[in-house]
Subunit: 333 residues, 2 copies
């Protein structure tokens, strides 16, 4: 007797069982660090809506553009933006070659950790520190400096590398979207050359999908080899009204999903909301002083005020960090 | 007797035959509009080198970045850059709402097709025409105007839409690279908002992989809806030394393959060549006055002079349009 038809049926049944098991397991594994609640439901409902073929809200994969702010949305931003911590770190690394800094503000303040003197140096002092640490070197040299900071510097509160302070629930959201055919982008006020050093490793977002603020680059020949030198001249500020402009300039399509955490993201969320078809606008609300930080309307960093009002008025999704997230950082899993 | 093992062998043999046949057919179909010769061989040899696992020159797919100039490399650029033809077309479309243009230069020259008067208006006149046709409208309005031009305007020599004048051999090269895991980008001096309207349809290159020159965009609320308005202010010129800067700004990785046709592409080719590992630098040389145009060192448009010398000195691949290409345009197939 030829038993191959029976074998074929066994095989088919086996495959169906495998498929069903996998599908159920997958459903349970969706966003595991998110508590069941309105935020998680809204995200999943939106993704199902735009990815189900035949659905009136179906969006072809090429148009599934998702944009995320970085500071305060994908990683923490307290007690100060991490890129500022990088600048201070660099001042210390560079100090041996600049003995004059010992007696010169604002460098002296950084080297001595004198926050009062630093505050007195004001915005002008800060801009000088940023220029010295972010310009006058090639793009390759800068990338090496950022990589060194990622490996060496420690966050004062958590005593861990800054790149450990990324939000586990957001990492899961990025993966979930990519698994559903979305292209994920960072759209941040942070420096594009800064973020690209770790964005692929930490978020799985390749350099060409990172949009940020930038300085002018100058092409030069050095010993017959071309280099790009970072000049101390701002080219583009990717914040507030700059975010929709940056999205248009870099992506050329309107996102269907955007996530931010502050008033600096309001225009990006408005720009996303104004497109036709299904849209998702999300805001991370920092409500967890114990595990992370709690701040909103009154905060100098990551102010969430007018964007919060608009989110409430328009029914955007506001994620309550304390209520909605089981863990904050990957090392707490 | 259980005959399933024999069937399995039959099936396996069948699959092998199918695979071999497919592989041979595929090899014959590679770049069908390219004549066999040094240029085609160099391209295929490079692609095999960087895609073969285990090869010392293997490049992971994520790093297979290929950048292409547009004007003169992917489509024609004579008798003038096609974006200028778009500007002139727009002046004519807009004229009924600007009766004063009948008597005012440089508009009068465009409306009357008076090339002498236009030349007399010089660069200042040209910039004015570009500003009027490229700014003072939203990005959506501009995209509609470009789409209209694509559908309506005709090239004076070929009496066909401008977007028909793309190079069939280059379309095949773009596809061949993508089939081999490359990500293809346009890096052009042309306007980014201009090219994106047709780049996906014509070249299969999505908006987020088009890099070009740009004007400042202003975010505004109009009747409660956000818009981006194109301002008459240049933000970035993606030409010559601007090309490596544009590549770094938008992609953040160095290409391993780049193609251009003029001195405006020289720095992009140098930047590509200066990376480590296998590299491919290509130049399209316009040598075919009969089927397209023949021009190089003395041409005002698409001057190929110093880049040609460097290509010769460094062994970059120079494509001789007349010798290397079986057909120029898709409609000649």
């Amino acid at each position: 007797m030829d038993r191959s038809p029976i074998r074929a049926i066994h095989l088919a049944v086996g495959l169906v069982v495998l498929f069903v098991t996998t599908a159920v397991a997958w459903a349970d594994d969706t966003l595991p660090s998110w508590n069941d609640g309105a935020a998680k439901s809204a995200i999943v409902a939106f993704v199902v809506r735009v990815t189900q073929e035949g659905s009136p809200d179906f969006v072809p994969p090429a148009q599934r553009i998702a944009t995320f702010d970085n500071d305060g949305t994908l990683w923490s931003e307290q007690p100060a933006y991490f890129q500022l911590a990088f600048a201070f770190y660099r001042i210390k690394v560079m100090a041996p070659k600049h003995p004059e800094w010992k007696d010169k503000q604002p460098y002296k303040a950084v080297l001595e950790g004198d926050m009062q003197a630093l505050a007195a140096a004001g915005e002008k002092g800060l801009l000088e520190l940023m220029a010295v640490t972010h310009a006058g070197m090639t793009t390759d040299e800068f990338a090496t400096a950022v990589a060194d900071w990622c490996d060496s510097a420690e966050h004062p509160r958590f005593k861990r590398p800054y790149i450990d302070l990324v939000f586990q629930p957001m990492l899961e959201l990025l993966s979930y979207l990519r698994d559903n055919g979305f292209k994920t982008f960072i759209v941040s006020g942070g420096g594009v050359e800064f973020m690209r050093v770790f964005a692929e490793r930490v978020y799985g977002i390749p350099p060409e999908q990172v949009i940020g603020s930038s300085g002018v680059l100058k092409f030069e020949m050095r010993d017959g080899k071309p280099v790009l030198v970072k000049e101390p001249k701002i080219e583009f500020i990717d914040d507030k009204a700059g975010k929709p402009a940056g999205i248009q300039r870099f992506i050329g399509r309107r996102p269907i999903l955007a996530f931010g955490n502050s008033d600096g993201d309001q225009q990006m969320l408005e720009w996303t909301a104004a497109g036709s078809g299904a849209r998702f606008m999300g805001i991370v609300h920092h409500t967890d002083a114990q595990r992370e930080w709690a701040y909103d309307r009154q905060s100098k960093i990551g102010t969430l005020n007018t964007a919060w009002d608009e989110a409430t008025a328009k029914g955007w999704t506001v994620v309550d960090m304390k209520q909605d997230w089981k863990v904050i950082y990957p090392f707490q899993k």
